[in-house]
C-alpha cells in the first residue's frame, strides 16, 4: 500500500471528527476531576442523554435550538449533581464517589431506555450541513467539518478561559492547590459548581453534536465512556492539554486501524493505554488542569 492510501485527506478528517467529540467529552471529564477529584463514570450516560434530548428537541424545534438548549439542560443536571451528590459526599474517598457516579450512570441509562426505547435512533443533520464539500478533489460530508470546527473551537475557548480570565486562573489555582487557593480568598465551592456545570454541559454539547454522526442507542454511553477514560488516562488525569493530544492520537489510531485491520483497531487503543502507563504512568500531560 502506498502512503496516500494510508493518509488520505478524508481519513485525516474522519480521525479529527472522532477526536473532536472525544476532546469535548474528555476535557469536561478532566475539568471535573481536576477541581473535584471526582472521576465521573456517569459522563458517558450524560453524553447519551444529551444525544437523546437533542433527538426530541430536534423533532420539536430544530437542531440549532437543541444545540443551545441541551447544554443548558445538562448544565442544570450538573447543578443537581454538585449539590446532591458531590457536596454531601465530599468527605468520602475518590473511589466511593466514583462508585456513586457509576450507580447514577446505570440509573440514567435505564431512564433513557424507559423514555426513548431500546432501539437505535437516527438523527439527520440540519439542512445547511447535510451536503458535502470538495476536500482535495473528493466529496466529504459538511457535517463532519462542522463537527471538527465545533470540537476544537470549544477546546480553544476553554483553553482561553482557563489561561486568560480571572475565574479561569482561579480554576487552575484551585485544582493545583485547593487549600492555598481557599486561603487566598478563592471561593472554591462556587468555582466547583461552575466547573461541574461546565463539564456536564460539555457532555450535553458533545451529545448533540454526536447525534447526526453516530447511531444513537442505549449502548452509546458505555462505549464512549471507555474511549474517554482511555483518553484521559493517556493524557494524564486532569490535564486538558494532554486529553486533547490523546484524543487526536486515539482518533487517528482508530480510523487508520479500522481501514487496515478491524481487529487491530479494537486492540490498538488498549495497547496504547498499557504502553503509556508502563512508560509514563502519570500520562502525557503534566496532570491537573494546565
Amino acid at each position: 500500500m502506498d502512503l496516500s492510501q494510508v493518509l488520505s485527506a478524508s481519513q485525516i478528517a474522519n480521525a479529527l471528527a472522532l477526536a473532536s467529540l472525544l476532546t469535548i467529552l474528555a476535557s469536561g471529564l478532566a475539568l471535573i476531576f481536576g477541581l473535584r477529584d471526582v472521576m465521573n463514570f456517569g459522563h458517558g450516560s450524560l453524553f447519551m442523554l444529551g444525544a437523546y434530548l437533542s433527538y426530541s428537541l430536534g423533532g420539536l424545534m430544530n437542531f440549532w435550538a437543541a444545540l443551545v438548549i441541551v447544554p443548558v439542560l445538562l448544565g442544570a443536571i450538573g447543578v443537581a449533581f454538585e449539590y446532591l451528590a458531590i457536596r454531601p459526599l465530599q468527605k468520602r474517598t475518590h473511589m466511593e464517589i466514583a462508585l456513586v457516579t457509576f450507580g447514577l450512570s446505570l440509573i440514567i441509562t435505564q431512564l433513557i431506555v424507559k423514555g426513548w426505547g431500546p432501539t437505535a435512533l437516527s438523527i439527520s443533520s440540519p439542512p445547511v450541513l447535510s451536503g458535502s464539500i470538495d476536500l482535495f478533489g473528493k466529496p466529504y460530508p459538511v457535517y463532519r467539518v462542522f463537527l471538527i470546527f465545533m470540537g476544537f473551537g470549544t477546546c480553544l475557548a476553554l483553553g482561553y478561559w482557563l489561561k486568560y480570565t480571572k475565574s479561569g486562573m482561579h480554576v487552575r489555582a484551585a485544582s493545583q492547590q485547593p487549600i492555598v487557593a481557599r486561603m487566598m480568598g478563592v471561593n472554591t465551592d462556587r468555582l466547583s459548581l461552575l466547573v461541574v456545570c461546565l463539564g456536564t454541559s460539555f457532555a450535553g454539547l458533545a451529545g448533540v453534536l454526536a447525534g447526526p454522526y453516530l447511531s444513537v442507542d442505549p449502548n452509546l454511553g458505555a462505549s464512549i465512556l471507555i474511549s474517554c477514560l482511555i483518553v484521559v488516562v493517556i493524557g494524564g488525569l486532569g490535564s486538558i492539554g494532554g486529553a486533547i493530544a490523546a484524543s487526536v492520537l486515539y482518533g487517528f489510531i482508530h480510523v487508520m486501524g479500522s481501514i487496515h485491520s478491524p481487529t487491530l483497531a479494537v486492540l490498538a487503543p488498549f495497547i496504547m493505554l498499557f504502553v503509556v502507563l508502563l512508560w509514563r504512568p502519570q500520562g502525557f500531560g503534566s496532570g491537573r488542569v494546565t
Partner: protein, 353 residues
C-alpha cells in the same frame, strides 16, 4: 491505629472469640467445618428446583464477588472489570473444549492455570497504577476482550456473537454434563468451590501477606521507607483475586456449558462489584451475602425490566447510607442487640482514614 486499618474478617465471624483461647478456636473451626459439610446436603432439604437454581447462581456470582471484595478489602482497589477475569476463564475453558477437544478435567486444569498465569502478567502491568486508573484499566480490559471475541477475525476461535456452545467429553470429578447443568446435582461442586474460595480469601487476609497488603494500602510510602517491597505483594494479591475469579468463570462454564460475549460485558462485571458493595467488603462473607441478595433481586425484578434501574438506586443508596454494606449493618445491629454499641472510636478512626 492498626485496628482501624485492618478490616479483617474477624469482625464478621460471630464465633470468633478472643483467638488466643485454643478451645474456642477449636470450636470456631468445628463450627465452620460443620457448616461446610451440612451445606453439601442442601439439595436434599430444598426440594424446589427454582430455589436451587437461585442458590447456584448466587454461588457463581458470589465467588466472583469474593474475588472483587478480596482486592477491595486488602488493596483498596475496585475491580470494575471483574468480567475480564471471569469471562476470559469461561472463554478459555470453552475454547479448550470446543476447538482443541480437551477432556473436561483437562480443560478445567488448563483454564485454572492459564487464566491465573494471564492474571499474573496483567497484574504485573496494572499494579503499577494508582487506584483510580486501576479501576478504569480493568474496565477497559474487559471491554477490549469483549470487542476482541466479537471481531470477525476471531470467529473461527470464539464464535463471535454466536458464542460457543459446549459438549463436554468425559466427566468432571464423576459428574456428567447433564448432571452439571442441573442445579441440584451441580450443587456439591459449586458449594465446595465457594467454601474453598472463601477459605482462601480468609486465610490470606489473616496471613502476613494480608497484613503487608493492608499496610501498603494505608500508607505505601511509609511501607517503602520501612524496607518493604510494595509492588510484588500487590501483584500476588491481584493474581490470587484472578484465581478466585477464574473459579467463578469455570463454575459458569461448567454449569451453563456456553460462552457468550455478554460474559465479558461491563454490566456482568458490574454485577460482581455491586454484590460486593451490597454485602460490604470489610468481611469475606459480605460479598457472598450480597450476591444472594443481588440474585434474589434479579429474580424478583428482572422480568419487570426494572432491575438495572433499581441496581443503580441501590448502589447510590448503599454507598451514601450503608458504606459497609449489609454485613456491616448486621454486625452493627448484632453488637447493638448485645448491648454493646458499635465502638465509637473505631467509627471515628474509619472516618478519619
Amino acid at each position: 491505629m492498626m485496628s482501624a486499618v485492618i478490616n479483617t474478617p474477624t469482625q464478621a465471624m460471630p464465633a470468633a472469640m478472643p483467638r488466643r483461647d485454643s478451645s474456642s478456636q477449636a470450636a470456631f473451626w468445628l463450627f465452620w467445618a460443620a457448616v461446610v459439610i451440612l451445606g453439601l446436603f442442601v439439595p436434599s432439604v430444598v426440594a424446589s428446583k427454582y430455589v436451587m437454581g437461585v442458590l447456584v447462581n448466587s454461588i457463581i456470582l458470589g465467588v466472583a464477588a469474593v474475588a472483587v471484595g478480596f482486592l477491595a478489602c486488602q488493596c483498596g482497589l475496585m475491580m470494575f472489570g471483574a468480567a475480564a477475569v471471569t469471562g476470559s476463564a469461561t472463554y478459555i475453558f470453552a475454547i479448550a473444549i470446543a476447538r482443541y477437544s480437551f477432556s473436561t478435567g483437562a480443560a478445567v486444569a488448563f483454564t485454572l492455570f492459564a487464566t491465573t498465569a494471564l492474571c499474573a502478567i496483567v497484574g504485573a502491568l496494572i499494579m503499577r497504577t494508582r487506584p483510580l486508573p486501576f479501576a478504569m484499566l480493568t474496565l477497559a480490559l474487559g471491554q477490549m476482550l469483549k470487542s476482541l471475541v466479537m471481531t470477525t477475525d476471531m470467529r473461527p476461535i470464539t464464535g463471535a456473537d454466536d458464542g460457543l456452545p459446549l459438549t463436554f467429553s468425559g466427566t468432571f470429578l464423576g459428574f456428567t454434563q447433564s448432571q452439571m447443568s442441573k442445579p441440584e446435582s451441580f450443587w456439591p461442586i459449586a458449594w465446595l468451590a465457594i467454601c474453598g474460595v472463601v477459605l482462601l480469601a480468609w486465610a490470606v487476609g489473616h496471613s502476613r501477606l494480608g497484613q503487608v497488603l493492608r499496610a501498603i494500602t494505608a500508607n505505601e510510602e511509609r511501607m517503602r521507607f520501612s524496607g518493604f517491597n510494595t509492588y510484588w505483594p500487590r501483584v500476588i494479591a491481584f493474581t490470587l483475586a484472578g484465581f478466585m475469579g477464574t473459579v467463578a468463570g469455570l463454575l459458569a462454564g461448567l454449569h451453563q456449558a456456553f460462552a457468550s460475549p455478554e460474559l465479558l460485558d461491563f454490566l456482568t462485571g458490574g454485577n460482581a462489584l455491586i454484590s460486593m458493595l451490597l454485602g460490604g467488603f470489610g468481611t469475606v462473607l459480605g460479598p457472598v451475602l450480597g450476591a444472594v441478595l443481588f440474585v434474589l433481586g434479579q429474580e424478583k425484578f428482572g422480568s419487570s425490566g426494572h432491575l438495572e434501574l433499581l441496581t443503580g438506586v441501590g448502589v447510590v443508596l448503599v454507598i451514601a447510607v450503608f458504606p459497609r454494606g449489609a454485613m456491616g449493618f448486621i454486625h452493627d445491629s448484632w453488637a447493638w442487640l448485645r448491648g454493646r454499641l458499635p465502638s465509637k472510636k473505631k467509627e471515628q478512626a474509619r472516618a478519619a482514614d
